[in-house]
Subunit: 420 residues, 2 copies
């Protein structure tokens, strides 16, 4: 008897009809003879509506009170999903995060899960019942309701799957979403993209960080740490999705499993600044304090003079400009340049570790197509090129083709990437 | 330093503006140097909306899952009220029923409070914070969320006031509502009605059972049992309301403190039935199983033949007819008569215990006005007359006047009744 954790997102439980479909999905697993734990998010726009309501009461709600408020969103969902299950004859028990044994560090608004006590889940499963657990929340040791912040519901699902040792039972963590798996590239942009049957945690993590919306990096990291197999699949379609799992030898056969595109980047350059160790810290400290997420950073130096370039989302450029100007004022020398209209193309694959010539193949393909590259950054399993946004979609297709991703049999690829 | 429990109903916290006004009310008590615990209901129509949502998922939600769902209504309110308090500089902590130490018997949908553990409240009060507690809910010993059913939020407030021994500190339980106190009669019907300064638990209980909406009988009973002074007052006006407290000798000076009207009653009569001990049990068991609340019961007997009459709300007549017909079938003899268009006028007062001639004064007054009385029922502190609804409002005014309630100085009456 395998144990499955099934997670349904906010869209999947957006109204009573969709909730009924989720319930049918759960029943299917139960009817197969498996044990199931369900994790759900707040319905559709419930979370946004609660935030809006708080905004009408005060401009600065405390994080503790926001948690108290937000936690009701998932509580409504679990009650309704449990009702829907009982309606079709599946015994179910809704549980708040705290009731389900999810203990957190008590950091309101962005709590980390410190422990999962599986006693209550085991009790419900032992009675043949389906526990339906609030995603995104837990309680601190002192009983305070805390939310987990971004990616919280996926993280709840993976944490419960880990505590229940689903892999040992032959089960996995199923993440039901509105895409049917992880693709070699966004199929809306690259029609020859195919769905990957498997992908490693490491690759999925890179792709998630590069903008693939399919799963939050935090949940992928959690899965990697505890070895939880994660099956990403469509909530309304029966097809197999993509299994996120540990790297296998066959995965290394493929140099690259996916190509990704991130649009609307701007590049900020501080040129001719003093090349001393304190400058970078000062700069990125100022940027971080402004709440801005920095993409790639490139530094070049010429003796005592250096230049630093980094990319950020277009929307953050105005704030970055202020922060960077203040740093230049303190440094006393140098100039600030801002470029807009950039995009980033990346290819990802654990196979890069053992294959040579990956970077050159990408540069050659882009060069042959006459596309200029502004910046290059690499990690152990990723190569990214910054280029003009007018070339973005063509460059994505070229990179996708250059690594043979357009010639994979659909849905049978051993590994791959870039969520639709 | 007195301790006050302040309870705000659903209308009082219906939107962010009203919530701000409640917060100001709390701040006033805090600024006076008192300690305050706040109890709130779900916002306006939140509870109805949740029930409607459940109805779209299943026709028969389990009581446990309904509790899980409904409990979110109060949780939203407490978070928002705590935010509103912090906004105006009052330190506050929202608490679920369970966090506030309210333990119940675990009976979902209509739980009874079995214990109040005041540790958390004392801790928050000790830190100079205002605990804002979810009304209407608690947790069972096993941590299950349970709602208290009708009158639940008032009951929560009185229970907390009892646990905190507010009377000993010089404080009380303040019930803020949309009426400004308890009146000698409904002022919309009897313009000469005046607000009572004080009323005994017993009198308030009778009036609540006779249809006064101002407080739920259950909370009044709880207050009586534990001697919690309850101050019913308007949430948006500063005036003193009505204090519900133990009977005092001066209260006995007044024969009657209030007159009440209950409309739209129907009378069901079973005539010429066998006068044997089992019949009444059979009849009212059948009526109770149909979920119908019976008003007054009158039985008359002539040797081996009896007649039983009782009144119910118009809306219940169809169901009563079915239940009563089945009983007649089993009894094998007798006939069923249904009358509609009746109303009930009552006068209430603990003074009746020590005064004579109360009933005769009421009958004489109604008789002089030419109003026929169909039925009469009395309790130790109440006299009720069933009469045609066409006479109802005039009879109310006549009864009100007959006991001198129209000559009380407004707001200074020592005791009295009939909520507006």
């Amino acid at each position: 008897m395998a144990v499955f954790v099934q997670k349904f997102g906010g869209t999947s439980v957006g109204d009573p009809q969709r909730i009924a479909r989720c319930a049918a999905r759960v029943k299917q697993r139960v009817d197969e003879g498996h044990r199931v734990v369900v994790v759900v998010s707040a319905m559709g726009h419930a979370t946004d509506e609660l935030i809006e309501l708080a905004g009408r009461v005060t401009a600065r709600p405390s994080r503790r009170e926001l948690d108290m408020l937000m936690a009701t969103g998932e509580q409504v969902s679990v009650a309704l999903v449990a009702m829907a299950l009982e309606k079709i004859g599946v015994a179910a028990t809704s549980l708040t995060g705290g009731q389900a044994g999810i203990l957190t560090d008590g950091n309101h608004g962005r709590a980390l899960i410190s422990e999962v006590s599986r006693a209550r889940l085991d009790e419900e499963l032992g009675f043949g019942r389906v526990p339906v657990v609030c995603g995104f929340q837990g309680v601190s040791r002192s009983g305070e309701i805390t939310t987990l912040g971004r990616g919280g519901s996926d993280t709840t699902a993976v944490a419960l799957a880990s505590a229940l040792k689903v892999a040992e039972t032959g089960g996995c963590c199923e993440i039901f979403t509105d895409v049917d798996g992880v693709y070699t590239a966004d199929p809306r942009l690259v029609p020859t993209a195919s769905k990957l049957a498997r992908i490693s945690y490491e690759e999925m993590l890179e792709l998630a960080l590069l903008g693939a919306q399919v799963m939050h990096p935090r949940a992928v990291l959690f899965g990697e740490r505890y070895g939880v197999p994660i099956h990403v699949r469509h909530s309304q379609r029966p097809d197999e999705g993509t299994m996120i799992c540990r790297e296998t030898p066959e995965m290394e056969q493929m140099m690259v499993v996916g190509a990704a595109l991130k649009r609307d980047l701007g590049r900020v350059s501080l040129r001719r600044i003093p090349n001393n160790p304190g400058v970078q810290g000062m700069l990125f400290d100022a940027v971080a304090k402004a709440g801005i997420l920095v993409d790639d950073i490139v530094q070049t130096e010429f003796g005592e003079i250096a230049s630093i370039s980094f990319t950020v989302d277009h929307g953050d450029l105005a704030d970055v400009k202020i922060a960077a100007s203040q740093v230049l004022d303190r440094v006393g020398t140098g100039e600030l340049a801002i470029e807009i209209g950039l995009a980033k193309i990346s290819v990802v694959g654990t196979g890069m570790k053992t294959h040579v010539g990956v970077a050159s193949r990408m540069f050659t393909a882009l060069g042959d197509a006459g596309i200029p590259i502004h910046n290059i950054t690499t990690s152990e399993i990723k190569i990214s090129c910054i280029l003009g946004k007018e070339h973005a979609e063509r460059a994505l297709a070229i990179a996708h083709e250059a690594f043979g991703l357009d010639r994979l049999a659909a849905g049978t690829a051993a590994a791959g990437a870039a969520a639709r």
